[in-house]
Each structure stands twice: as C-alpha cells, then as structure tokens.
Assembly symmetry: D2
Homo-oligomer: 497 residues x 4
C-alpha cells in the first residue's frame, strides 16, 4: 500500500517510523497510508525553510509573484487531477472539488498582486529635512495547519500569500486527506519555486506541537475546530509567535416574511447540504420569522430535498458525498437522534441513506429538523454534517438575539427584500461575515476572511489585505543626511572630521 | 496626605482598601498615596465601559473625532499643569515633559483622522449583481496598561485612537506616577466625552490580572518590560483576547568612520542621557567601527558630558532628572559597578552626583563606559539609566551582527554619510525602527511604533495605521438583491410569495 | 460707502480703479462696493503666492496641518460673524448659513489629515538592491474661482486642502458676496498662516482670465455654471494647467410607489426650496413612478409648502431668503411662466410673495409645477430657484432614462424601501452622486464631490481624496547605491576613482 | 505588397482608401503598406467599442482580470514573434525589443490586480444610520494614441489597464510600425476578450482628430512629442474629455565628483545610446560637476563607445539599430552639425557609420559632444538620437539650476555616493522621475509614470495607481433606509403610506 510522505527542501520524503490509515470515505476502505512525522522530521522541514529564507527574503517581489502567475496556470492545467485526489480522500463530488479549487486559485491570483500590496508608506519632511518610510518585510518561517474539509482551498488561503510576501512555509495538512498538499508542492516546484521555500509535513499532535514551539517558526496560521484553535492560539502566543487561529461556526440564516422564498430555499439547499455540511461557512440554522414563513419554508425545502442525491465522488451527478470518517458519521447521526429526543421534529431524516454499491461508505443524507430551540445539543454545537435546523422566531429582534448569543460568529445571512431590515441586520449582528440574500458570504480573495467571537482568535483575518499584514512585519526607517561637503562642492576630496 | 484615586464612569473614585506611596524622586520623599484597586473596582470600571460602549459604538466617527479636536486644544491649554505633574512624580525636567506631551498630542491629532482611517473597502460586482464591502467596527472594551517612564505619552498612544475607533477604554497607568492619567481623564470629559467611555484604575498585579482575564475586555495594549510583556501577551491570548505587548530594548548606534562626528555626539548626548535613559528608545550602546572612530567619539563625548546638568525638574536648565525609585538607582549603579568588574573601562562615572539641596534624590549622573563586550551584564540587559556603553567593532558587518544577535530589536541607528552603508544597514538589520543619522527613530504619529524580536509581542504595532487596525475588527458584508417586483413596476402592491 | 478690497500677501488692499455694487438681496439695496481687480492686481497676488511658495513648500506637513487645527477653532469662534456676512450679501437665513459653514469646517477638519493623506508609496527591491518610492509634492500656485451661492463652503472645499498640501493660493470669490472670503483670509492669518500663502482678489472676467493664463498658476479649481465651467476648463487646459471645473445640475429624485411618502416630502421640501434652490445639489425634479404616487406626492407636498416661510436672513424663523439679484429673480419667474405656457400645471405659484418690510427684496416663493415633460424649457435648463418640477413616469426604467438623457449628472436620488430597486438605480444611473432616500447626497468631506456628464470637467473631484490628488503631483524616485568602500571597511579614507 | 489594416469589432479590416509606406529602417526599403483610416472607419471602431461597453462594463472585474492573466501567457508564448515585428518595422535589436516587451508585460501583470485596485471606500455612519461609499466605475470608450518608439510597451501601458477597469478601447498606434498593435489585438481575442472591447485603427491626423472630437470617446491617453501632446490636450479638453498627454524630454544626469565613475559610464552607455536614443527616458545630457569629473567621464565614455555596435535588428550582437526614418536621420545629423557650429566639441562623431550590407539603412552611430552650453540648439531641443551631450558645471547648484530651467521635466538622475547630495537633489529637482545612480528611472508598473513641466499635460500619470484613477470615474452613494415595518414585524403585509 502506498505511503503518502512529506515534502522537504524540494524532495519527497517517504520514510516514517509511524503511519496512519487514509480512507476512501465513499467505500469505507483504507486506500493508503500517511506518514506521521516525528519531531525531528518537522525540525528538518523548519531548518530547510529557515535556510531557504536567507535568499528568498531578498528575491524581488515581482519575481516571487511571477512564480505565482505560473503556479496559477499549473493549477488550472492540473485541475482534474487535483479534484480526483480530493474526491478519493475527502469524498467531495467533482463539481464541488472544482468549486473549492477555484476559490483556492483566486487566492493565488491575489498573491500575484504582491508588488502592489507590499508597498510601504513614505513621508517627506516628518521633520526638517527628515524623511520616514515603512517597509513591510517578511517574517521568516511561517507554519500552516489545515483541516480535512478543504484540502486544497485552505492551504491555498495561506501559503501563496505567505510565500509571495517573502516568507518560507511549512504546511501540516490534515492527515485524513494529505495527498493534495503534496501535489500542490510539486506544482509549485514546477512553477520555479526554489527548494525549501515550501515544505509539507504530514503528522499529528507531535508535528503540531513542534511547529508551535520551535523558536524558528515566527507565525502560525490555523484552521480547524474551536477547541484546537484555542489551544493553538494560546500555545503559539505563549511561545512568542504571532498566530491566527480560525475555529468552528454555527451559521444562521434569518428568513424574513418578505423574503423571496424560492430563492432562499434554493440558496440554502446548497449552503446547508453542499460538501455534506462539512464547511465552516455551511448554513446550518434557518431562523424563520413568523410561523407563516416557517411553514412555507419547510414545505418548499422538504420538497427540494427530495431531489438531493448523495453518493460517491466518482459520479458527478451526485450533489454531495460521504462525511469524512465512520466516527464522524456516527457523531452526526447522534446529533439527529438527540434532536428528536430533546423535542425537535425530524422533517426529513437522512440517516443511513441507501447508496447502491457503496454500502460501507460514510454517508448521511440531507436532514431537516423543525422546532429546534436554544439549549438543544444540536443547536449549541457544530454538527458539521448535512443537517439543516429550523428555528422559529417571533420577531427579527428575537432571531438576531439568538445569533448574537451563540458562541460562534463566523457567518450569517438574512433573506429579505427590505433595505432597512438588511442594514439593521448587518450593522447589529455580532458576526464577522454577513450575507444579504447570499447564503455563503465567504469574502472573495481580495477581501479577507474572519469570524468574530470564538470563531477566530487573533487580530487579523485570513487572506486578502489582512493576510498580507499578517505575513509581514513593519520596519520604519527615519532618515536625515548631514552635509558632507560633497554637495556644496567646496571640496571634492573627502572631508576629514 | 492626598490620595490619587480612580476615574470610573465620569467620576473620581477615591475610596480604596489599599494604597501605596508615590515619591517625588528629586527629593526622595513620599508626596502622595495612590489607591490600589481591588478586583471589584476594576470590574466596576469594565462594567462602566461596557455599558457606555452600547451608544458610543454607534456615535458617528466624525462626532467622536470632534471630541479629539477639542481634547487637543485642552491639552495645549493645560500643558504646563500636565508637565508639572509629570515632573513631580516622574522627575522629568519641564522641557523633556513638554517634548513627551507634544508627541502625545501628535497622537491626538492622528486620532482626528478617524473618519478617513476607518473607511472600509467596497467592491462592486464580486459576483453577478453581488457587491461586497468591509467595515472596520470597534471591538468593545479595551484596556491599556502603561509604564512609569512616559505618564502622558504612552497612554496618549493608546486611548485617543481606541476611543475614536468606537471602543471604550480602561487605563491602568503606572502606580509610580498616576496623577497625569487622571488629569487626562478630566480633560477628556471637559472635551465632551460621555461618561464611561474612558476610565482609569490605579493598581498593581491584581488590577492587571483582572483586565487580562475579564471576558468583557476584548483587547489589551501593554507597554513595559519584556518579562511582563511576555506574561501579558501569553495571559491575554490564553483568555482569547487580542493583545499587543511592547517590551524592553537595547538600542545600538553604529558610528561609521565617515560619520559627521560632532553631529553623532550631539545626537547621542540627548538620546543616551535624556530622561535619565529611562526610555525604551534610549540609545544606550554606541558601536564604533574602527578604533579611530572610537577614540574620537569617546574624546568628544566625554567632553560634551562635562556640560550635562542633572537635577530636579523644578529647574528647567537641568538636562535630566533623577531615576524613578531608590531601588532603580541602586540597580543602575550596580550595572556600572559590574561593568568595571567584568573588564570594561568607566570613562565618565556618574554615580552619586552632587545635586545641591536634593541630597536624598534618586540621581545618577551621565556615565560613559568603554571597552564593553558581548556577554557582559551591562551589555546583555536593559539598564534604563543614563549610561552609554561603547563597543568597538572591527567592521560594519561585526557591528551589525551584534545588533542582530541581541534579544531586543526595538530601535537602532547608523551614523554615516554614505548612501550604500545606510541602505545595507536598514535593509539587513533585524530591528523594527531604524534611524539613519537620527538617534531616536520613534516613528511619527501617522506611522506606527513597533520593535522586532523580544521587544514586541503581537502582530500590530502601536498607534498610526497599525493602531487603527488593532482597535477595530473587520466585518465583511456580501449583498445581492432578488427582484421584488417593485422596480419592474408591473405591480405596485407588495408581492405575496 | 465701504469698499470690499483684496487680500494680498497678508495685507488688505483697498485701492481699485473699478468697483461694482454689492446688494443686500433682502432689501434690494446696494450696501457696499466691491473692488474689481485689474490684471496687474491679480498678478501681484500671483507673485505674492509664488514667492511664499518657496518656503511653504518645505514647511513640514504637520506644521501646515496645525494651522488648520487652529483655523477650525477660529471658524467656530467666529461662526456668528461669518453667518451674518453671508446673510447680508447672499440672503441666506442664519440656520442655512450655519449649515453651510459646518460643511465648510468639515473640509478644514479633513485638511488636518494631511500628514496621513500625503503619504507616498515605497517599494523595496523593485530591482536588485533598488528601491523606489513616490512623493506627492505640491504644485505651486493654485487658483480657486468660486460662485455666489456658497460664499464660505465652496472656498473651504478648496483652499484648506490646497494649502495643507503645500501649495499657495489665490481665491477669486463671487463679486456678489465677496466679504466672507476676506474674513476667512484674516482668520487664516490669525491662525498663523505666513503672508502670501493665501490671497483673495475680487473681480470679474479680467481677473478670471488672468488666472487662467498666467504661467505661474499651475492649477485651477472652479465651481459655477456649465458654460463658464466649460470655458474655464478649455482655457486653463490650453494654457497647460490642470483644471477641475464643476458646472450646473438638474437633480432628479425618483419617487417609487413603495416610498415612505412622508419622508420623501419632508426631505424634498428642504432639498428643493432650501437656500431658494440656489444649490448645485438642489433637488429640482421629482419623477413620480405611477400616477398614484404622483397624486399623493403633490397632495402632500402642496400641503407642506403652505408652511414655508420666505423672508430676510435677519429672521431665523424663515425657511429661505431671496434669490441673489433682481435679474435672477426675473429669470426664475420667467421659467415659471414658460412652464405654464408650454403646458405644465402650476400647482403652487411662488411668484411675487409678500414679504412685509422687504417689498424691494429679490424674493421668489416656493413653487410646485406638475405635468412637466422632457423638452420644456423649465425641464432642460437649470432654474436655480425655489421651483420643484413634477414629472410623471410610467415606470422606473422610463424615469431613469430621463435622468440618463439629461445633459447634467451631478446628483440624484431615489425614494424606495426596496433593496433591489435601490441597487439597480445606483448601479445604472449616469450621475456622480447618488442618494438612496437621501435627497442631497453631497459626499462628506472625507469622500469627494464630483458630478458626471456636463456637471464636471476634469478627472478628479473636489475635496476628499480626489482633492489631495488634484493638489499634488507625483514624483517617483528610484534609488540604487553603488559600493563606496565605506561599508566594507577595507579602507576608511575616501576612495579615489 | 501586404497592407496592414485595422482591427475593429473582433475582425481584421483591410480595406482602405488611402495607404502609406512602412519602411524597414535597417534596409531603407518599403516593406509594407499601412491603411490610413478615414473618419468613418474610426467612427466604426468607436461605435463597436461603444456597443461592447454595454456588457463589458458589467462583467465582473475578476473575469476581466482573468483575460489579462491569459493574455500575459500568450504574450510570453509569442515573444519572439512580437520582437521580430518590432525589429522589422522599428529597427530595434531583439534584446532591446525583449526588454520593451517585458516592461509591457509588467503592465499586464499590474492589470491583473484590478479587483484590488478598483475598490472604493466605504464609510459607516456618515450621519445617523447613513452610510456612504464610492465606486470607481469605468468611463466608457477611451482612446490611446501611441508613438513609434515603443510599438509594444506604450500601448501596453494603456489598454490592459483601461480594459480591465471596464472600459472599451480604440488604439491608434504609430503608422511607422503598425503591425505590433494588430498582433496584440489578436492575442487579446485569443485570450477571450469579447469583440469590440479592443479595436485598432491605423491612420494619421484624420484619425487623431476624429478620436479627439467624437462625443462617444470619454478619455484620451497620448504619448508623443510635446507640440502634439499640447494640441491633443487642448483639443480633447475643449471637447469635454479627460486627457493625459505625455510629451518630450531632455533628461540630464548629474555626475558628481564622488560618483563611481565606471558605474556611471556603464549606466549611461545604455541609457544614452540604447534604442538609438529614441526613448522619452533616454539620458541625453551628462552634467559633470567640476572639470576633473568631466575629463574623467569623457575619457572613459569615449573608450567605452568604441565597443558600441550599430546595425540591423537581425544580428542580436548589435547594441542598437537605425533611427526610424531617413528624415529623422537627417534631423539628428543636423543637430550634431549645429553643435559644432555653435561651439561645442564633437568628441565622438557617429554620423554615417558603415554598416556592411545595410548601406541604405537610417543609421546614426553613437555620438559624444563636449562643451555643450545652455542656448545651443542641441541642448534646448530633444534630439531623439544616439547623441550624448556633456555639459560642465562648476557646482551641483548650477547643474540643478540648468535642469530646473529646461522646459522638459520627464526624467533625471544623479551619480553620487553621498546620501545628502542625493536627497537634496531628489527633493529640489523639478522633474517627475528621479534616479539616484539609476540612469533610466522609469517607474515599475505598480508605480506610475509621469513627467513634470512640459513633459506631461494632465493631472494623472500613466499606468500604475494613477492609471487606474485615470480610467475610472468616481460615483459616491449615500444611503439611508426608512423603516418599512418589515423589520419591526408588527405586520407582515406591505405597509400603506
């Protein structure tokens, strides 16, 4: 069985004391092994990045950007191959994998703006004949730790920008679907990136802790669940690093009585069930204002869900695939069961769908639950499965209060046609990414991604302008030139003091 | 004896279970008592700030800025009074206090740019008929913890900007010189700031720890020594807050053989001894390249030091005053003694200067030490006294290597007339604030302040553009409007779904 | 009778070969004479500005800004005096004059951001060891030519920003109400502005043409009617100057059937009749979509107009005052007459209102005209009087087409509650300043003012970021330092070639 | 003989009433004919652009940018072909043509940043519950008129940025070397650009005047000689268009006594003679400070010039090729003759060089003239040939005065090792693009190009941030939403007024 190794200093490194199973979630079978890095393997990657930094730091920004121009091309040329890898290890259907890759490529496109984005600010005459300017210099070695649910996109949020800013990078992708990161590394090399600038180590907590404590690592970008995000942020910070740690979510959509209901249903079908709900921007709670809106919504949504097809990534007519592991399938099923036990109504039950030929796959079908209330387990926790909860609110104020009370504040949206309702909502909701009739308000690559409350630890969001600021440190130079006699020309020889 | 209290919710709060002595460092006598806040006093301040936030957040930026316009006027009108308070508790001579205040007022002037600086970014057509924009919204309650050495300036780095961005503020100034902060609070109130937006609590570790752990405090700005900065950063981060913690420094000046030596000596006299060297931007190490430069420098500097006058703040002809406490005086004297013991040469010994009429003051005179080397205690640690070390380097490379090897990276400068030397230096030195023939390269208020290495923990510097980013969080809205029939005009009544 | 003179090089200059009457439009009487500058008087002002530029250019931006901080204070302290002057010569009621002044002061506040706004862009390593940066340098002498309708605000759009950017300025205000500009000049001097930096010349076409052709004038900002704007733009451009020339307007409000009609009526009452409609942002055409909306609007508006009070500026309970001259009163009356002749319906006729005690004043009362159509003189031309036209459209598309067909494109607005209608409108309307339920969408001072089509000639708008760009020219420096041996330290003497 | 036609609405248009000869300047022979557009052909192109604008304007910026990403690839893939066309019609040697193309591609890379660069500014709460934002919208149809000397680069300064901002474009390239523009048009089409967005018309003054007066053309970018630039600016402005017109130059290098002379000579060899001096950034005057510097410079330069090879583009070992036409050759020769007549010393005379096999080519060899003085024809006018003048100055002040007195202010540079001299020079010189030890200080594509004085008419420079501003107009929206009852939820039906 093939072993997925590491990529260090421009070379694939296969040796590993320990390995772990990689499953095909559609079949439920182990398809590969992934190497689990020991501390010294991670340190080797850090050392390679550290060494490569010395020259990469001084490579002109436009030359760094040109590697990203080439990398974009290669990603487009290899799109099918990348999507197949994603499907095989993550289970995502090809159209969804392509969507993920496209959002990732957008970040590479943004990285191509580096010469523009790295500009510092210059002030003439901050004092008499004194000028001052800032330079946004790279940090050194930075690390990225990324989750299983977007094996291409989330790494692409991080390393293209970090690298184009002049840093070198060590990526620890999810050990559930590690192959994609290695392919990205090879394409970067093909695009002309010098060895050591980008490295991949596969591993578990040992690798993570090494990255969080190694003094040569200057910064850490993390995306994952909130408890781990919190641990990463506290640990990296206690080790003097800058850190941004993105955690979990519970994204609510408010459905107002004046909403275009067909539009809302269509939008939420994709936002709730796409990628089996394994997205930190998945819309997992619909808060309907008024029973009339709720009844209409449930009626139309349960109809729409009849057409949903769950299945293996190999059939692109499927809408979504399995969840990532058997354990996770059981957890999602458990949330559904708990909802029923705690008084909610299962309108559409997606547990144990029949997927012919894939009887051992980790499938959960689209599930719709009505009469959900604050306090229920399914409401308070992030399910990360194809489960849409419906909460009934008496007023928009009540709906907003629920959202503001929830510990997470990643994304949210409202469906309305009313300008005033939309503005009041976006202004007062304590959530970082807000959609108005847009169910998945993921900012485009030239804006920045960042939740509020316990969805993001740190002061700067991921990618876009915040990403540039995160991956650079400011140096401010203040300059005055004393006369040397050269200009005055009284003497052309060098003045002695 | 008068008690310096707190300022909470627009009122001076005098009661305190505990108090601590405040000294006049020029006389060595206790002049006042300062209240030491208990946990619940701090919580009361946080509660006031929390309550005030609700309306302050929605006050238009231009109205917030106009309070800063008025505050600037009041600071100018009350400059003498502020400087007298600084002199009395800190010991700084009036011209130096006025310099500090002027730099502080610059930050108030920068705060007046808030309507401009708070602009978000708007993108039309991020998707078909979809627009997206960002808003830089305030955080909520933020805390500032400030050191004794700039009782006006460092608080003014923080709260005007934090407040004008829409936050409310709790300041814990140094308990060594607490009165200035209270006067600033009164002037702000006079300028029209609503009660509760700015609060001051005096205290010790109890107050600090309360601010670092109270969940209602969203962010912490700290300036102080590196060990405390590290503690503050780790603790605030572990409590999920954003934090910027500025620590200590050991700022080197490289003196090149081609330098304008008279200029360098004049510049360093102020930069090394001004404010008794109690500045995180004090220039405390002169690295002379070549023995000829070193000999000339020492000769000229020891001459110049003969004119230095140390004494009480009440006589404005003095150059600098006492250090802050008796304990600190003993510590500085001890560093001088250790230098001699470890092999350095005391060229000018400032220990126990005669200051007529102030025999019990905490004075240390200007001190110059030659033949200092890496590894000596006086070189490795921050002295924070009027002590200038001279290190002799054989080459510019060697001089730069010393700077890059030191744990601190706050400020540095080079004296040269040579364009290439200056550019090589500023490009390759691992220090955040670089002067070229400028000995104290403190960025002006519209740039940002931030050291590198163990001089700053966090990703964003103090004040200027970084300050605005630190005191705001990004909200990104993505908007699409479905047709409602209103525009098409087919029907003028409200469409039913 | 007193003569209003010029202000040149810090001194009031009274002598004039020619003078012209200044009227009090409320009484219809001549109250003063204004000096009409000959060519050489204007040239004297340009010479003074030219000379002052030499040192002003190098004055630090923050010092220039501090004069504006002080100027703001003085404007506030002298607000009543300024408003009285405006009332006396322009006829504006004191609340309206204060509104004008407040918007003007906003521009002084924005000018205080100069140190921030003047920052250039710095790029490290545009080539190997090559850096490049831009500086936004002042132009030199710039001229402003301003209209009668905002004797304080429009000059304040221009000179504070031009001056704070490092330029010197010659203002030619309207000869109808020249006194305000002179008072501003005196306050600037009191604020500390060096002589010659700001100059005022009163005059007519001779003065204008001198400014447009003098080679020492680098740029011209103009606000006035479109034919003159066009002349100014063509002439200044043909003389190699940069120019921005703001002209006339015909601002339409679309009233949708779903609008909050009371809100729309209240908003339009001020926007149509305020300042007698003598504003380039006056809302002078209401386009009602559907007859129902039109009928309701006219009913409510004609009711509201009953409370409108027209009268002298001395009574602050008046809503608006006279128009500027007798000739202009006759012109406005003529437009009303022509409307009736061409088939429109005069719903409220404001001609020849009774204003007790001011029988000779140039008054026109609020006028409402229904059934206005494209092609009518009153529709095609700018009336600049208190006349609101109502046009009936069958659909929003038709309403928008009218606006897009009109030669002017300054401001417009829509009244609706519908998000989609608002977005479609703002996206597709060919007008530079758009209001959504905001009748006078004048951008705030930190944004920029600029119409489209024949309402603005030039590429940059007035004030705000565009203003800064207009009043500065870019200098880009590219720098590389060859080795001189100083850094390498091989030799400490100056290298011979 | 083949006819070079136009490219209109996606199709090559060959028909032409009139044609003109296109020469191969190396052989002196006519190689092609170029069609000379009649007025209606130009109008057809404008009409096509006008029609295409309707949908292009609404194409998402990122989709427009992606065509530029693809275009960059195609330019790289077709580099040899492009360079061959340039050589054939312009005479430039292949390495120089490749340099030109590379700078052009940089502008395409910058155009890829459009989604970032087009961001407007958003302000929350400019008034109570009122928001305001700006959008940088396209202008419509814009025209570019470009010179013979950079048949690829100068068009690439303009149209990629104009197009990516949402405009459509009509290019009128030089009729001397028209083929390159047509190839660029084809590659754009291949990259996916819709028909009509980019059009090329070949022609003469008829075409130019049509573009300058057609009301559908909103803006004109021009690069050429100063008299024509002035005509274009005045005419376009008088027709109400925005215009930027870049004219001639006379770029001086100051050579200070402390300069690295070998570096200066090497740099000036390329900057003075490269591309036969037919560059608006060519360095054509060396001002040596002090006779010693002058003598050394002339000695080293005349030596260096011995290695210069002039010849046909087909031999890439040549340093530069012929000038563009026989008339131009005669003009350059005439300037050399006049220099001798007016008292200057011809140190190296490049007239009538022997180029074996190309006896009829329009060649002028590298020429060096000493003792040039202000007032001489060769000094006052732009030669646009491979001629380097040496002026001797007694001091840096005198050298700078000459530069500041000259009518042109495009580029300049100084050779020195002294920080103070460099800063004084760059701060006080009245030239828009300044080099410090950089002979051709052409700003990189992410900065902007713009001379001062009579080298640029208009307020915004070419390409970079200024280019984006030039090709967009600001729309500012101010928005307030009145309550509709939808949010309050009291009623879910539509409220009647």
């Amino acid at each position: 069985m093939s072993i997925v190794g590491h990529f260090i200093n421009g070379k694939t490194v296969d040796a590993a004391e320990r390995t772990q199973d990689v499953f095909n979630p559609a079949t439920g079978e182990v398809s590969k092994q992934v190497a689990i890095a020991a501390k010294d393997t991670v340190e080797e990657a850090v050392a390679a990045a550290s060494e490569a930094y010395k020259t990469w730091r001084n490579t002109q920004p436009i030359k760094r950007a040109r590697i990203m121009f080439k990398f974009k091309q290669l990603l487009e040329d290899n799109a099918e191959k990348i999507c197949a890898l994603i499907g095989e290890e993550h289970g995502k259907i090809s159209h969804d994998a392509m969507g993920e890759l496209t959002r990732g490529i957008e970040n590479v496109e943004f990285a191509c703006t580096a010469p523009q984005m790295l500009k510092g600010e210059h002030s003439r005459n901050v004092g008499p004949d004194i000028d001052s300017w800032s330079e946004m210099q790279p940090l050194g070695v930075v690390a990225g730790i990324t989750p299983f649910n977007f094996p291409a996109m989330v790494p692409l949020w991080m390393f293209p920008l970090a690298i184009v800013c002049g840093n070198t990078f060590v990526l620890k992708p999810s050990e559930r679907d590690p192959s994609c990161a290695l392919l990205l590394a090879q394409l970067l090399q093909e695009a002309g990136l010098p060895d050591g600038v980008f490295n991949v180590v596969n591993g578990d907590k040992v690798a993570v802790d090494t990255l969080l404590t190694d003094p040569r690592v200057e910064a850490v970008s993390f995306v994952g669940s909130t408890p781990i995000a919190e641990y990463v942020y506290a640990t990296a910070s206690a080790n003097g690093k800058r850190c941004q740690a993105l955690g979990g979510a519970k994204n609510h959509a408010i459905i107002m009585p004046d909403a275009d209901m067909d539009n809302a249903v269509a939008a939420l079908t994709g936002a709730a069930f796409g990628s089996s709900g394994e997205r930190c921007m998945a819309l997992s709670v619909a808060v309907c204002v008024g029973d009339e809106a709720a009844d209409t919504f449930i009626d139309k949504m349960s109809h729409a869900m009849k057409d949903l097809k769950v299945g293996a990534y190999t059939d692109s007519s499927n809408d979504f695939g399995p969840v990532i592991t058997e354990a996770h399938k059981n957890k999602v099923d458990g949330y559904i069961a708990s909802a029923a036990e705690q008084g909610a109504t299962i309108v559409v039950d997606g547990r144990d769908p029949k997927v012919a030929g894939y009887e051992n796959g980790f499938f959960v079908g689209g599930t719709l639950i009505d009469q959900v209330k604050q306090g229920m387990t399914c409401y308070e926790e992030e399910i990360f499965g194809p489960v849409l909860l419906v909460v009934r609110a008496e007023s928009m104020e009540q709906a907003m209060q629920m959202i503001n009370d929830h510990e997470y504040g990643n994304g949210t949206c409202i469906f309305t046609r009313d300008g005033e309702a939309a503005r009041y909502f976006s202004d007062n909701i304590l959530v970082g990414m807000v959609g108005i009739n847009v169910p998945l308000p993921v900012p485009v690559a030239y804006h920045s991604f960042g939740g509020w409350k316990r969805s993001l630890f740190g002061d700067l969001g991921a990618y876009g302008p915040d990403g540039v600021r995160f991956y650079t440190k400011r140096k401010t130079i203040t300059q005055r030139w004393p006369s040397s006699g050269v200009r005055e020309g009284a003497q052309f020889s060098f003045p002695s003091n």
